[in-house]
Amino acid sequence: MTGILQTKNVHLYYGKNEALHGFDLNFNENEITTLIGPSGCGKSTFLRCLNRMNDLRPNVTINGSFKFEGKDIYSPSIDLTELRKTIGMVFQQPNPFPFSVYDNVAYGLKLAGMKNKHKIDKIVEESLKEAAVWDEVKDSINKSALSFSGGQQQRICIARVLAVKPKIILMDEPTSALDPISSSKIEDTLVRLKKDFTIIMVTHNMQQASRISDKTAFLLNGDLIEYDSTQKMFVNPSNKKTSDYLNGEFG
């Protein structure tokens, strides 16, 4: 089976330091894949390769092949703007813009040139509903996004990404800054979003990975140790390192 996003032989260097040592990972459409592994193993680094956010950092060298729907993500002819719209990202810290909830979600659309107010309104509402935060913000949609709780802010950020209609959503520990109730709301949201989107998520929360993901990849020191269905990984991992990690024996 060929996935929506295929990576091959991924090497990444920060200066002379090799952070990713060459591995292949393919992601299937409409699945949730989680990346797990101890701190510093390269999960964020890898995730940021997928929408080229590492381009912003100086002295980063990336080798390997990254294909999204068969097209090379790193080809010079790629439209970076288009790519980042198609492969959206949600960060560890909720980072809404210091504007109203409405503007947060509408901003991407407006700056991308959409003028039709009616259409924008509709997308804003849909996106907030999809991100399961509409009921909590609908009466104060013109209030600053910063005046909401962390969990609500994170769901507003998810809505902001959904509004530009991505195909893949990258999430770097989206619930690590949140309380258990907010986290479980976001987990529910993700499971529902799966039918329309492909989700690739980094998490340190093993229960979370086992609850919501279809596939899990275990990274260790820049190497891919094991990549399989979540079911198999958690019940019967084939690599000793994986079972050690899942049993909390290191990391």
């Binding site: 912003l56 980042r84 504007f99 700056l111 991308a112 600053s144 950020c157």
Partner: protein
């Protein structure tokens, strides 16, 4: 000595120094206000100055100061905005950028008399612009530019990098991320900086004596033709500002009430600069609240 005593002595010293600073400031401002405010009247603010007779006002000087400030901001703000954005967002970390930063640093520490004389030689004499509001505005831009640039750079830099990543990850270009997200988020800081620098520009005298000149020719407030030499809007006319007026009245004033005029003008100047500061504080807070909470 045990740590507790050391601590007490340190705190005592700090309070003493703070008290000294506050005392100096209060007595200075108090003295100027007490001697000057009684002389401020509607007549004083709205009549023209006198060279020989008493009873002169500061109408033209006041207007000149405001107009000069306006022109200075028009010249310096766009340049400072551009350089601030470049330094904060685009400048690579290399020696060229360091040279630019150092240059700005040096420019901001040049004595104002030196800049004034330099502008006198270059613009007033060499380029035949003459004593004029324009020459004055250019000289003041020299001071204002470094301060404003640094202020804008810092305001932009203080916006969290998470905001930049959020913008870029939504597929916005770097330019749109800056103008659409980072700049609006930095507006409160930038406004505060503009108003504070306006206060400094407003009080500057040394750089203006040789550029905007020391004379206040009769101007017509009903003449809106910018090119007419008697129009109040003509940027090519010489224009004595309030700060320069104070200097002149004190050094060569021969009117019988020179002392009173000088105290009154000083009081007006101080009051306006205090207002600038309060305004900066107030607008800064207001904008920040507006951006970060309910509106």
């Amino acid at each position: 000595m045990n740590p507790k005593t050391t601590n007490k002595i340190a705190i005592g010293l700090i309070y003493t120094f703070v008290a000294i600073v506050v005392a100096i400031l209060v007595s200075l401002i108090g003295y100027i206000l007490v001697t000057g405010v009684p002389h401020i009247s509607w007549h004083f603010l709205t009549s023209k100055s006198q060279s020989f007779l008493s009873g002169g006002g500061i109408r033209d000087q006041l207007f000149n100061s405001v107009y000069l400030l306006f022109l200075t901001l028009c010249l310096s703000f766009p340049i400072a905005l551009g350089s601030g954005i470049y330094l904060a967002e685009y400048a690579p970390k290399n020696w060229i950028t360091e040279v630019i930063r150092t240059t700005i640093e040096v420019l901001s520490s040049l004595p104002s008399v030196v800049v004034g004389l330099f502008c006198y030689l270059l613009f007033v004499v060499q380029m035949h612009i003459g004593f004029s509001i324009l020459s004055g505005a250019i000289a003041l831009t020299f001071f204002n530019l470094p301060l404003l640039t640094r202020n804008i750079e810092n305001s932009l830099k203080s916006v969290s990098h998470l905001q930049r990543e959020a913008g870029l990850s939504l597929g916005l270009s770097q330019w749109k991320t800056i103008t659409g997200i980072i700049l609006p988020a930095a507006v409160p800081g930038i406004i505060t900086g503009i108003i504070l620098s306006a206060g400094r520009v407003f009080g500057e005298a040394a750089a203006l004596i040789y550029t905007a000149g020391q004379s206040a020719p009769i101007i017509d407030y009903t003449n809106w033709n910018v090119f007419s030499s008697s129009s109040f809007l003509n940027p090519m006319r010489p224009a004595e500002t309030l700060a320069v007026h104070i200097w002149k009245v004190n050094s060569e004033g021969i009117t019988p009430d020179a002392n009173l005029v000088s105290s009154g003008s000083s009081a007006v100047l101080i009051i306006l600069i205090l207002l600038f500061n309060l305004l900066a504080h107030w607008i800064g807070n207001l904008l920040y609240k507006k951006m970060t909470s309910n509106f």
